[in-house]
């Protein structure tokens, strides 16, 4: 999956419009987040958030069992899936048992992680993304480029074109110079019709409250609420780390999540689902299913450094503050969670041997770790994964050892730099892709150590 990362990065860097979209949007998000935290003591709140999430990790199995018990008491069906395959099959079976034909889906990272859309479509079940951004991305057969703003890489002109190409005439073709509001209007019309017809809704969960068996979802668009409240069946997918003990922890985490993600004090909606439709209620799903997904998370749990990954609340702040991501955009990553969090999650889910160059796309500058609202020390985790990756590759170790030989002794180092500076004076082919945009650095006429030596000699003479 990540093997082509390098190629996609080069593509992304040569796409000017992509870069402009990204820089603009990322600067905007960074600013907004900064403003949103101004009314609060970020550090204090953040350490509260980190404590809460660490406590969850400490009590994870018990909390999960409690969550299951409460949910069952409330009439919610609970399923456990060990991997992506099993999770997909569970959803497929729920759909088939109920003769579901049309599924609407709210935004859910974990559903992308397990590639649920593809699975359901292969079974002949249509699965429509209902988040406007995700829908746009789905129409164009792409993957989302940002976990909070999936279509951020597209301009409104590109979207107008896409709607004009792909949508049914009945919805009215948007003109080329359509405004943002007009485009959203067209998108809404299409989606509302899908909502009416859908017999099953799928969503993610931001926090699952163990004490009461309540599933909490944040959203800015009504579609999340529609996916969970209009169709007759609601299936909620949850990574096993998303559980929290009680309502008491919710306010702190919510504050951190909304501010970090989109710089909002509060999202438009916080949807809290505790049971299926009750007796005499007119609406709401008659079945609610909760699928708790492991998919390698328990393996992360077993490593005391990597374990920290599980405290992530998927806010995206690390990405918006991440210099590499703000330049190449999310598509270069080619998988579900782009940015620093991707660097630490994907290798763990897909296996470190598939990580390729992904782990190297980081300067360990620490910007992501500083932004993280639950104080995950992302650079440390990335370094740990790099260590693991390197230990798998014998040539790396050999090269490293040779390097060490030269850098450990001043003499050998001086010898090496002389050799290198001599070589670079020889006419040599320069790598094309690289020198297209850069000039090859010229070595200084004299090396640093020679300069020092000379200066010392001068000093001695003048004494």
């Amino acid at each position: 999956m990540s093997d082509n990362f390098r190629i996609r990065t080069v593509d992304a860097l040569s796409d000017d419009s992509l870069q402009n979209n990204f820089r603009g949007a990322m600067d905007f998000l960074q600013d907004k987040r900064h403003q949103a935290f101004q009314d609060l003591e970020f550090e204090k709140l953040r350490s509260e958030g980190a404590d809460i999430r660490k406590n969850v990790i400490a009590h994870l199995p018990d909390l999960l069992e409690k969550l299951e018990r409460k949910c069952i008491d409330n009439g919610i069906h609970v399923h456990w899936a060990e991997d992506a395959q099993q999770a997909c099959r569970i959803v497929e079976r729920i759909a088939k048992d109920n003769e579901v034909k049309q599924v609407v889906k709210g935004k859910s990272m974990v559903s992308e992680e397990i590639e649920l859309n593809q699975h359901l479509e292969a079974q002949g079940i249509e699965c429509i993304e209902t988040d406007m951004g995700e829908y746009i991305v789905q129409l164009d057969h792409e993957k989302s480029s940002h976990i909070i703003m999936p279509a951020i890489h597209k301009t409104k002109e590109q979207i107008a074109q896409l709607f004009a190409d792909k949508l049914n005439e009945d919805f009215g073709k948007p003109p080329k110079d359509a405004t943002v509001d007009e485009l959203i209007g067209v998108g809404r019309k299409v989606l509302r019709q899908k909502f009416m017809q859908a017999d099953m809704g799928i969503s993610g969960v931001n926090f699952a409250i163990a004490e009461t068996g309540t599933l909490c979802l944040v959203a800015n668009e009504g579609n999340g609420r529609i996916s969970t409240g209009v169709p007759d069946i609601h299936v909620a997918l949850i990574g096993l780390e998303k559980v929290i003990p009680s309502f008491a922890e919710l306010p702190t985490l919510l504050k951190l999540l909304t501010r970090s993600a989109t710089g909002q004090i509060m999202t438009t909606y916080l949807n809290m689902i505790s049971s299926p439709r009750k007796d005499q209620e007119l609406d709401g799903p008659s079945q609610v299913h909760l699928v708790i997904i492991d998919n390698k998370r328990s393996a992360m749990y077993q490593d005391d450094v990597l374990q920290e990954t599980l405290t992530c609340i998927r806010c995206g702040a690390c990405m918006n503050h991440y210099p590499v991501y703000t330049r190449i955009g999310g598509h270069a990553y080619g998988s579900t969670y782009p940015g620093p969090i991707e660097q630490i999650v994907t290798p763990q889910i897909e296996g470190i041997e598939h990580a390729g160059d992904l782990l190297d796309a980081c300067s360990l500058n620490g910007a992501c770790g500083e932004a993280c609202p639950v104080s995950i020390d992302l650079p440390v985790v990335i370094r740990e994964l790099r260590n693991k990756q390197t230990s798998l590759k014998p040539p790396h170790r050999v090269i490293w050892n040779i390097w060490r030989q030269f850098y450990r002794s001043t003499k050998r180092h001086a010898l090496l730099s002389k050799f290198v500076s001599l070589c670079s004076r020889l006419p040599m082919p320069t790598p094309k892709a690289w020198s297209n945009t850069r000039t090859f650095p010229k070595p200084a006429p004299e090396s640093f150590s020679t300069l020092i030596k000379k200066q010392k000699e001068n000093e001695r003479e003048s004494e």
Binding site: I152, K154, M272, S274
Partner: protein, 195 residues
């Protein structure tokens, strides 16, 4: 399937012993007091493009009537929430008021296609979040505040809380008997997806 559950709980339990828990009771105090609360609530709601109307009990129904006259929805619907009924009496314009059908299949169609405006009741308002808490039950279906383009949400000033924390701890929030669905709403639906 139970095998899966046992498997993955086991995997977690193996390593759980090694993690120390950091039980810390930080004192949680709201930065907002009652006086500034309403101001914050107003500011946040208005920032989110919600329109605020302050009114006393006597003029509530009349105020809503004026709005309805201006907006001229083809049809509108009023939640059957008992407190809301009490507050509104029989004073709302009847001509374009409608009732929902008995089955969800038909009611859904009404909500999506005919009803342009709804009037609902919020149990409480939260200043710090700038949001209203609505509970779903047989009198107030959850989709009432969601599908119609415009929603009027009535909240009583006596039900304003400084923040979510205090609301959750209050009698308003009976964790042993939660409604099937609750929602915090801080403004009309929006998307930041097209720029």
């Amino acid at each position: 399937m139970n095998q899966s559950k046992a498997n993955f709980l086991n995997r977690l339990r193996v390593s759980q012993q090694m993690i120390e828990s950091t039980e810390s009771e930080t004192e949680k105090k709201s930065a907002i007091n009652n006086a500034s609360g309403k101001e914050v609530l107003t500011r946040l709601l208005e920032n989110n493009r919600a329109i605020l109307i302050e009114t006393d009990y006597k003029e509530l129904a009349q105020n809503i009537n004026t709005q309805i006259k201006q907006l001229q929805p083809v049809q509108y619907i009023v939640s059957e929430h008992p407190r809301l009924k009490e507050l509104l009496g029989n004073e709302l314009t009847e001509s374009n008021q409608c009732k929902l059908a008995d089955t969800w299949r038909e009611a859904k169609q009404q909500l999506f296609e005919d009803i342009e405006l709804s009037i609902c009741f919020a149990d409480s308002a939260l200043c710090e979040q700038g949001a209203l808490l609505l509970k779903a039950d047989k009198n107030q279906p959850r989709n009432l505040s969601l599908i119609p383009e415009t929603s009027f949400i009535v909240v009583e000033a006596s039900n304003i809380f400084p923040d979510l924390q205090q609301c959750v701890q209050s009698a308003h929030f009976d964790t042993r008997n939660l409604p099937s669905n609750m929602v915090l709403i801080s403004g009309p639906s929006k998307t930041a997806d097209i720029q």
